[in-house]
Amino acid sequence: MNFRKVLIGFICLSLLAAGPVFAKKKMIQVKGSDTMVNLVQVLAEAYMEKNRQNPIAVLGGGSGTGIAALINGTCDIASHSRPMKNKEIEMAKDRGVIPHRFIIAVDGLSVIVNEKNPVSKMVMDQIGAIYRGEITNWKEVGGADWPVSLYGRQSNSGTYVFFQEHVLGNQNYSQDMKQMNGNAQIIEGVSKDKYGIGYVGVGYTLDSDGTVRKGIKIIMVAKNAGATAYSPLDKAAVDSGDYPVARPLFQSSAGTPQGAVLDFIKFAISEEGQEIVEREGFFPIGSSHQEENKKNMK
């Protein structure tokens, strides 16, 4: 065990690792929404097949993480499933980042329960009351005498915030809600939990062959008591707003998009991109969305 040998070996290892230090290869960083991460990854893979010179790195972390990264300057595109809050837009402008927003898909945010749960439709208000912790037993909404087991996301999730605004009426979530790390964990949890209820992006409720995943049941939602309840799988209902929990899915760039960033966003909203959106279980964007996108490209 010669000291010199060890030293030499060490120096060699360091040189090996040092190599091209900081020869940064420019990769487009897309960070953000977990709801969108699968969709964006498939889009990125399809895009890179024809554009090998523009590599794209897709990271998740939740809408809040993506927006924070855009503000902090650590990503090129933020995917988010909720609009940026005014506070965030101001903070961005303070740091010299003017976000340009694009709508790349539409989501019918789905409320799911375990397939053994007899309840199949609910009114928006009831869902809000359940998540605020006001309703704690399934029998209060016409189900069995079971305690409610809440599953939701964490505060970095756009879905969490969107749900809070639109379904909870901007009130606090029940502190008993199990805060899961992503849509998939909610699906896993609810499918194994007889008393469970959760909310996920519609793309996650379907299997790769387009059927509803095993173990869960999608709840039909009515805007108010007496109205018809619709399913998030119903494209017409989502488009017309009859399904009350539809939302656009966004990607924002820091400033006017240019170069590879612009190219990728254009791909996402192109026909080919929108086909991928449909295949992944979400809904393609409508004409009014396309108008808005064109405006924001300037």
Binding site: F3, K25, Q41, G60, T74, A184
Partner: protein, 283 residues
């Protein structure tokens, strides 16, 4: 008679404790080994993930872990050794050195997420290294430093003073006596301690989560400033954040198995070397 019965029951309880621990370990290894083993193949180890990470392999994660561990080693190993040499051989054994030693040893008990916090603020923000192999490696290096210092010190302490005194009596300077009479004997102990520390670092997730590890990268990192995929973070992502977790569960098992094997191999090497050393010492 009563004494005998109590002893029998007592020792039986102790045996049960031992068997419980062994059973749990076996359960772990069996579960991961069997479910992970089904997935491991040359393709799994050498290819990148495909199709939204539902297929393909984990090579980028293996490479990422390897690269970040090298940076960790560069920070923690030399600094650890030299600090230990100074503390043990040169510094006067005052109250101050005792306090310093105590602080260092207790820093190894600080939660890994706290090192992660520190890494974010120092390396990612203040020093502007951004989220990169460098930031993550340095953060892990700091995490491992208390460990390497303590392990090196233990190795140095085990060398009897007579070795040093013998050399000094023959007219050697302090450094010469250390170099010829202490280090060669302490080095195996030091290095095994280092390897153990590095194996811990390789399995850490919290320090690298916010300093450089990424969910999915299309290419291998080409420089220290790039982000990277890493085995422990990959396992975490596959188990909790992936969009099709039940589908990729087998791949998660495979990742867990690879990570475990990597650490087991490092630990085993250390155990074997130490065992050989002890036998030599006994003779």
């Amino acid at each position: 008679m009563k004494k005998k019965i109590t002893q029998f029951l007592g020792f039986f309880f102790l045996r049960v404790c031992l068997y419980t621990v062994l059973a749990v370990l076996l359960l772990f290894l069996f579960d991961i080994g069997s479910k992970g083993g089904k997935v491991i193949s040359w393709e799994f180890l050498s290819q990148a993930p495909r199709r939204g990470m539902t297929e393909g392999g984990i090579f980028p994660a293996i490479m990422g872990t390897f690269l970040v561990t090298i940076i960790t080693a560069i920070l923690a190993v030399p600094m650890g050794m030299f600090t230990a040499i100074y503390l043990n051989e040169y510094a006067k054994q005052t109250r101050l050195t005792r306090i310093i030693r105590l602080s260092i040893r207790n820093l190894s008990g600080v939660p890994s997420i706290v090192y992660g916090l520190f890494g974010v603020i120092l390396f990612v923000n203040v020093l502007r290294f951004g989220t990169s192999i460098l930031s993550a490696g340095l953060t892990l290096g700091l995490l491992t430093l208390p460990w390497t210092i303590t392990a090196s010190e233990e190795a140095l302490k085990a060398i009897p003073n007579s070795y040093r005194e013998g050399a000094l009596a023959l007219g050697a300077t302090q450094w010469q006596s250390i170099r010829t009479n202490v280090l060669p004997y302490a080095l195996p102990g030091m290095l095994t301690g280092m390897v153990l520390g590095l194996s811990r670092a390789a399995g850490e997730t919290a320090p690298i989560m916010f300093t450089g590890a990424a969910f999915y990268l299309p290419f291998l990192p080409k420089s220290l400033g790039d982000q990277f995929m890493a085995l422990p973070y990959h396992l975490y992502v596959m188990a909790t954040q992936h969009h099709a977790i039940s589908q990729v569960r087998p791949l998660a098992y495979g990742t867990a198995l690879v990570l475990l094997l990597l650490i087991l191999i490092m630990n085993l090497a250390v155990i074997i070397v130490r065992y050989r050393l002890r036998r030599v010492k006994r003779e």
